[in-house]
């Protein structure tokens, strides 16, 4: 397209620029994400204060009740309050979801960054391992690993870490390949800085944002995995309240009490919606030049 259009674009750009420079709290996507995720975390933390019921104790006389004044979302087949189990489930699913990201984030980012920065045999080895792990679909490896390691929270952390470090390694390697050719990095090296200093002082702050943005969608993936494992009966063992196993329990009564299976799924949807918005908002905030 010719220059007159560029002129037009220039005329248009003024509002666009002020958009990327506006303070973070004016970024609607980011704020919406923060509010949703914040409320969910708050509900999880305050669960014992928010509900008079116990998430585990059975009350068989009150099983499978429809929503009412005392049980807003009804009760499950053991007479437990669904809303209570939903709130306590948030504690499990959100905790594991957020914590599970930490190990792969650190391990994957460091390996990918080193591979991208130094290249050579280290890069080749790391990337071949990445290729191998990439060949296994996320769920296949997670399910098998959780089975092999034995059901339970620590197995889930390990299984997720073993599978999802790969994505961070790929992202960071790509970032580093670009970053190390940037003038400011070349200049720092020529100025006599050591590799370590260049990596930590100059490159990390510039490339970490992409890994951070990805981490938001990764938390969503992890929560999906935990819920899926729970649904398959491979995750957190009953009677602990967990969204996936709640859906599994509710599926039995799909024809009579469809809320039982629907509600926990909606909880997952709201959670991932919040995290996705947060990720999009972060991406607007951290790397506005990459988004259209």
């Amino acid at each position: 397209m010719t220059t007159a259009v560029a002129t037009a674009a220039r005329a248009m750009r003024r509002p666009a620029r002020s958009r990327s420079l506006r303070p973070w709290y004016r970024n609607g996507t980011l704020v919406a994400g923060l509010v949703i995720v914040g409320l969910l975390l708050l509900a999880a933390v305050l669960a014992p204060l928010l509900t008079p019921f116990d998430p585990i104790e059975q009350d068989l006389q009150n099983a499978l009740q429809s929503p009412s004044g005392s049980h807003w979302l009804g009760t499950d087949k053991y007479g437990r309050d669904v809303l209570t189990r939903l709130l306590y489930g948030a504690r499990v699913d959100l905790r594991i979801g957020f914590l599970a990201v930490l190990i792969p984030f650190v391990v994957g980012s460091v390996l990918g960054a080193l591979a991208g920065y130094f290249g050579g045999w280290f890069d080749v080895v790391v990337m071949r391992i990445v290729d191998v792990f990439f060949a296994f679909p996320f769920y296949v490896l997670v399910i098998v690993l959780v089975f092999v390691l034995g059901a339970g929270e620590s197995s889930i952390y390990l299984a997720i870490a073993a599978v999802s470090w790969v994505s961070y390694a790929k992202i960071m390697r790509g970032e580093l390949l670009v970053a190390k050719k940037q003038d400011y990095v070349v200049a720092a090296r020529l100025g006599g800085m050591s590799h370590g200093r260049v990596l930590i002082r100059h490159i990390t702050p510039n490339v970490l944002s992409q890994a951070l943005i990805y981490a938001m969608s990764d938390i969503v993936m992890d929560i999906m995995a935990i819920v899926t494992l729970g649904y398959l009966g491979l995750g957190i063992a009953p009677p602990t309240a967990e969204w996936g196993s709640m859906i599994l329990d509710g599926q039995e009564f799909i024809t009579t009490q469809f809320l039982q299976a629907t509600i926990p799924g909606l909880a997952v949807v709201v959670t991932s919606l919040g995290l996705s918005l947060l990720g999009d908002g972060l991406s607007d905030l951290l790397s506005p030049e990459r988004r259209k």
């Binding site: 007159a4 002129t7 037009a8 005329a11």
Partner: protein, 357 residues
């Protein structure tokens, strides 16, 4: 005008005397093929404010006439052309004015009727043939697309027409080349493909947006000659947008000079070149190298064109003008007749009488 001559430069650049009454005069009284009237192009900002990039541009193109529009980057010449073709890039749009083709306003015409004109009546050639050709479609199919749509040809007939159009535009081995993808051809060949595509439906008006800018100088000349020959053969009118005065000199009979979204001078190419009546045109001519007089000193125009978003109140060229007077900064000089067939938008036009050549 001695069009079709092989010696383009000398025929159009130097021999001025034996010009017949121009085509414009011949068709006087008749309806011009293309008539752009008071055309403003710009962007509507949220809140109702508009930023205009092209302001009140008017010109006529008669059948068989070849009109060059010259200006710097950002002068609005390409947008004017694209408005005629109906190809303004979003969010740019026509703010006001008329674009009449054969007496009918293209802008108010139903979209479907307008599209039916694109190809058989009006065709366009773009600046950068690499990006203007679909990268994943064989060039022969791209040429054949228009004839299939508009002339109702079968795939086979259209394919044959495409090959013959390629042969007419001087592409060697057209049967094999028709099966090539754009990236497999050289820049010159790609532009010939664009030309073959544009003339494939026999249009009466050909719009060219800097069609030779992306080409080597030698290839440039070949492509210009080809264009000129094709137009002369078929009596096709041409609107030719460029920043290169030499190209206009080689190709066109009429000239309009644009600056900051306005036409500042217009007239027959030869006359404008010989005696520019607007300081900007004069500056352009003095800053462009001339092959015929390589020893002439080149004088650049000082300063930069204004930002369209905040134009000065008076003449937009005033800040860069050597002839500027106080009243130039007060109000905008209108485009007025300064000699028969010559228009200029300058209060001081009468001071510019020096003959350059």
């Amino acid at each position: 005008m001695s069009q079709g001559s092989s010696d383009v430069i000398s025929s159009t650049g130097i021999a001025p005397a034996d010009e017949p009454a121009s085509t414009a005069e011949l068709s006087r009284g008749g309806v011009p093929l293309l008539s752009v009237q008071d055309l403003s192009i710009g962007v509507r900002l949220p809140g109702g404010r508009t930023v205009s990039i092209v302001e009140g541009v008017s010109f006529d193109v008669d059948p068989g006439q070849r009109m060059g529009i010259v200006g710097e980057s950002g002068s609005g010449k390409s947008l004017t052309l694209r408005a005629v073709a109906g190809l303004l890039p979003k969010p740019v749009e026509v703010l006001s004015g008329r674009v009449e083709y054969g007496g009918t306003d293209l802008l108010t015409m139903p979209a479907k009727r307008r599209r039916a004109l694109m190809g058989p009546e009006i065709a366009m050639i773009f600046q950068e043939p690499m990006s203007a050709l679909n990268p994943v479609m064989r060039v022969g199919d791209q040429i054949a697309e228009g004839p299939r749509r508009h002339l109702g040809l079968s795939a086979k007939e259209a394919g044959e027409l495409a090959v013959s159009m390629m042969a007419r535009t001087g592409i060697p081995d057209p049967v094999r080349r028709a099966r090539a993808y754009p990236h497999e051809l050289s820049g010159g060949l790609r532009q010939r493909i664009m030309i073959a595509m544009a003339v494939s439906c026999g249009p009466r008006l050909l719009l060219c947006d800097e069609p030779t800018t992306a080409l080597d100088v030698t290839v440039q000349l070949q492509v210009l000659r080809l264009l000129e020959r094709l137009c002369a053969d078929t009596g096709t009118s041409l609107v030719f947008v460029t920043h290169d005065l030499a190209v206009v000199n080689q190709t066109c009979s009429e000239l309009a000079v644009m600056y900051a979204g306005n036409i500042v001078e217009s007239g027959r190419v030869k006359e404008v070149f010989r005696q520019p009546r607007h300081p900007y045109t004069r500056g352009l001519l003095e800053s462009a190298p001339d092959f015929d007089r390589p020893d002439r000193e080149l004088v650049p125009i000082p300063g930069f064109p204004p930002n369209v978003a905040d134009r000065p109140s008076g003449c937009p060229f005033a800040p860069r003008c050597g002839y500027v007077r106080d009243h130039c900064r007060q109000s905008m000089p209108p485009l007025a007749e300064v000699a028969p067939g010559r228009q200029a938008a300058c209060f001081e036009s009468s001071r510019l009488t020096e003959v350059l050549a």
